[in-house]
Symmetry: C2
Subunit: 342 residues, 2 copies
C-alpha cells in the first residue's frame, strides 16, 4: 500500500506560504479570496492529489449530506427500483446514500435506524418491515432532528412526510376490471393487516364488490398469503372448494400471483377462461409467464425520485417546520392475458 498519509489543506497552505483558511476558502469557491491565489491553490491541490476529508468538513458543518435508506430487501425489484430512483436524484445533488436492509425483521430495522442516527445522516427514508407494530424507533429519528420520510409501507401513526401508492383506488379499478370481464366469485389473497398497504388493498377490494352489489364471501378471503409458496397453498385450498372462485386477486405481490398460476395450471384450470389471475407490482416476469399476468404498476423508480425531491424541497426552506403530508402516486393497472377473457 502506498502512503496512508493524505494531503490536507495544511500541506497546501505550507507549500504556498499562506494559511489553511485561505486554502479552505478557495476550495469552497468562496469569493473572499484573490482570483490569482485561488487558481494557484486549486492547481496545487490537484498536483498533490488532495481530497477533502468529508468527515472533518461534515463534523464542522453539522451536516453530512447523506441520506439513509432502510428497506425490507435490497434485491426485490420494487425496492431496488425505488433506490435507483433516489440515487439518481441524490447523486445530482452530491449527496450520499447509505443503504440498509431490514430483511423484514423488526429487530434489525431498529438496529439499522440507530446506526443511521449515529451516522448523523440528514434524512432517513424507510419502508417498514412486515414484522412489528411498535414504531417508537421512528419517533426517535424525529426526536433527533432528522428528517424522516416513509414510503409504501408506512406507520400511519408516525406523522412524517409519506410517499405512497394509492393502493385502494388502484385495487378498486383492478377489481372493477375483473367484474367487467365477467368474473363473479373473486377471491382475495391478503397480506398482514398490520401493514397499511394490505389494509388499503383489501379496502379497495371490498368497495369494488360493494359498488357492484357482489356479496363478500368470507371463505374466499385468505389471510397471510404474501409469498409464492403461501399463494400456492391458498390456491390449492380455494380451488378445492365446492364452489371455487373464478378469479383470484393476489393483493400482496406478483410472486403470490405466480404461485396461484402454477397451482391453477397444474390443477387443470384454464387461465383466464376458468380462472382470472391478478397480481401486484408489475414485476418484470409477469409479462413472461404463460399466460402473462395482469398486474399493477407502482412507478417504483418515479417514487424514488419523488422521495428525494421531497427531501431537497423541504431542506431548502429550513426555518419553517415541516408539515407532515402524504404524496400519493397513482398506480396503473396493466391488463394482460391472465384476466382477458372478452
Amino acid at each position: 500500500m502506498k502512503p496512508k498519509k493524505r494531503t490536507t489543506i495544511y500541506d497546501i497552505a505550507e507549500k504556498l506560504n499562506i494559511t489553511a483558511s485561505s486554502v479552505s476558502r478557495a476550495l469552497n469557491n468562496s469569493n473572499h479570496v484573490n482570483e490569482e491565489t485561488k487558481k494557484l491553490i486549486l492547481k496545487t491541490a490537484a498536483e498533490l492529489n488532495y481530497k477533502r476529508n468529508v468527515l472533518a468538513s461534515n463534523l464542522r458543518k453539522g451536516q453530512t449530506k447523506t441520506i439513509g435508506v432502510v428497506v425490507p430487501r435490497i434485491n426485490q425489484n420494487f425496492f431496488s427500483n425505488v433506490i435507483a430512483g433516489i440515487e439518481e436524484t441524490t447523486y445530482s445533488k452530491n449527496f450520499n446514500l447509505i443503504i440498509c436492509q431490514s430483511n423484514e425483521s423488526h429487530e434489525k430495522e431498529i438496529k439499522c435506524i440507530n446506526a443511521l442516527i449515529n451516522q448523523h445522516v440528514d434524512c432517513i427514508v424507510i419502508s417498514v418491515a412486515i414484522e412489528g407494530t411498535d414504531y417508537s424507533h421512528l419517533q426517535n429519528v424525529i426526536d433527533h432532528g432528522i428528517q424522516l420520510i416513509q414510503f409504501d409501507r408506512v406507520a400511519d401513526e408516525i406523522e412524517t412526510l409519506k410517499v405512497i401508492n394509492d393502493n385502494e383506488q388502484a385495487t378498486f379499478e383492478a377489481i372493477t376490471h375483473l367484474i367487467d370481464q365477467g368474473y363473479k366469485r373473486i377471491a382475495l389473497l391478503e397480506g398482514p393487516q398490520t401493514l397499511n398497504i394490505f389494509r388499503q388493498r383489501k379496502e379497495g377490494y371490498l368497495k369494488a364488490l360493494n359498488k357492484h352489489k357482489i356479496p363478500v364471501i368470507d371463505e374466499l378471503i385468505i389471510e397471510n398469503a404474501w409469498t409464492k409458496e403461501l399463494g400456492a397453498e391458498a390456491t390449492r385450498k380455494l380451488l378445492s372448494l365446492p364452489e371455487p372462485p373464478d378469479a383470484i386477486f393476489a393483493s400482496t405481490s406478483d410472486f403470490s400471483a405466480l404461485g396461484v398460476l402454477e397451482v391453477a395450471t397444474s390443477m387443470g384450470f384454464k387461465v383466464p377462461t376458468e380462472l382470472g389471475i391478478l397480481g401486484y407490482a408489475n414485476e418484470p416476469f409477469t409479462e413472461l409467464t404463460s399466460p402473462s399476468i395482469t398486474t399493477i404498476d407502482q412507478f417504483s423508480q418515479y417514487m424514488g425520485k419523488t422521495i428525494a425531491n421531497l427531501y431537497f424541497q423541504e431542506s431548502e426552506n429550513k426555518d419553517t417546520t415541516v408539515v407532515p403530508r402524504t404524496i400519493s402516486v397513482k398506480p396503473k393497472l396493466i391488463v394482460r392475458a391472465s384476466t382477458s377473457r372478452k
Copy 2:
C-alpha cells in the same frame, strides 16, 4: 422538529461530575474505568438518549467502518444480489455500506469513486461499467491507501483483490452441453470485448468448439449483443442466413437470450428442437418463459459474502501488505427446456 442539539459526552460528564475521558472510555467499554461509574455512565447515556457522533469518532480514529460499492445498476438482479450478500456480512460487523451506481457511464463511475475517496471509506468494491478503458481512477483508490476489491467485471491491469466467476470454464461446460445435445451450428452473441467477462466467455466458447473439432464460423459470432433488443436484432439476422445456426448462446445475459427466444418464436422456429437457446446469469424469469431457458447461475449473493469476508480477512492482518489475488467462483449450468432435445 424537536431540539437539534444532541447530547454529547460532555453533557453526560457534566451531569455526573466526571470528565469526558471517562465517559468515552465507558462508552467504548474500556476496562480502565470503574465498574460502578461505567454502569452509571451507561445508564445516564440511555436516559439522555445519547448517540455517539460517528463522524467525530471516525475523524479521530482515522477509519470510517464504511465500505463503498460501485455497480453499473443497482436494480439489476445480479448486482442487487451481490449487494445484499455484502450487506449481510458488513452489517454483522457493524460496517456501513455506501452504494453508487455508474449507470454504465465511465464518467459517472469516476465521480462515484472520487466521492467515496472523499468519504474516507475503508474499502471500495467495484464492478466496472461497460464504457471505459482507462482505469487510472482505480489506481487512484489504491494510491489513497484504500482497499480496493473488484468483482465480476474487473480491470485486469489493476492489481487488486478480485472476486470473479470462472466464466471461461462455465461457458466451456455450457457449450459442451449443447454439443452433447446434438447442436452443431452454435452461434455466439458476444458482449464488448473490452470487458474481461465477455472475453472469457468467448474464450470458453472457442475452446469447446475446438475440443470437439467443430469449425468456428465467423458469421455466427455477433458482436455487441448485450441487451434484449440487440439480442433480438442479432437473432433476426442469424435466422435469416442461408444456413442458420441450430443453437444460440447469448453470452451476455439472460435478457439477450430472451430477445433470442421472442424472435425465434415469432419467426416460427421450434425451441429447443430447431433452435437451442442458452443464456447467462440465471435471472428469475428464465424459469418462467416457455420454454424455460437454460442458463448459468453465478451465485451472486454468495459472491457478495465472499467479497465482504475477503475484506475483513485482509483488514485483520494490518501490517502485512495485501497480496493481489483472484478468487474464482465456479458458476453452475442450469439445464432447462430451451436446450433439452434428447
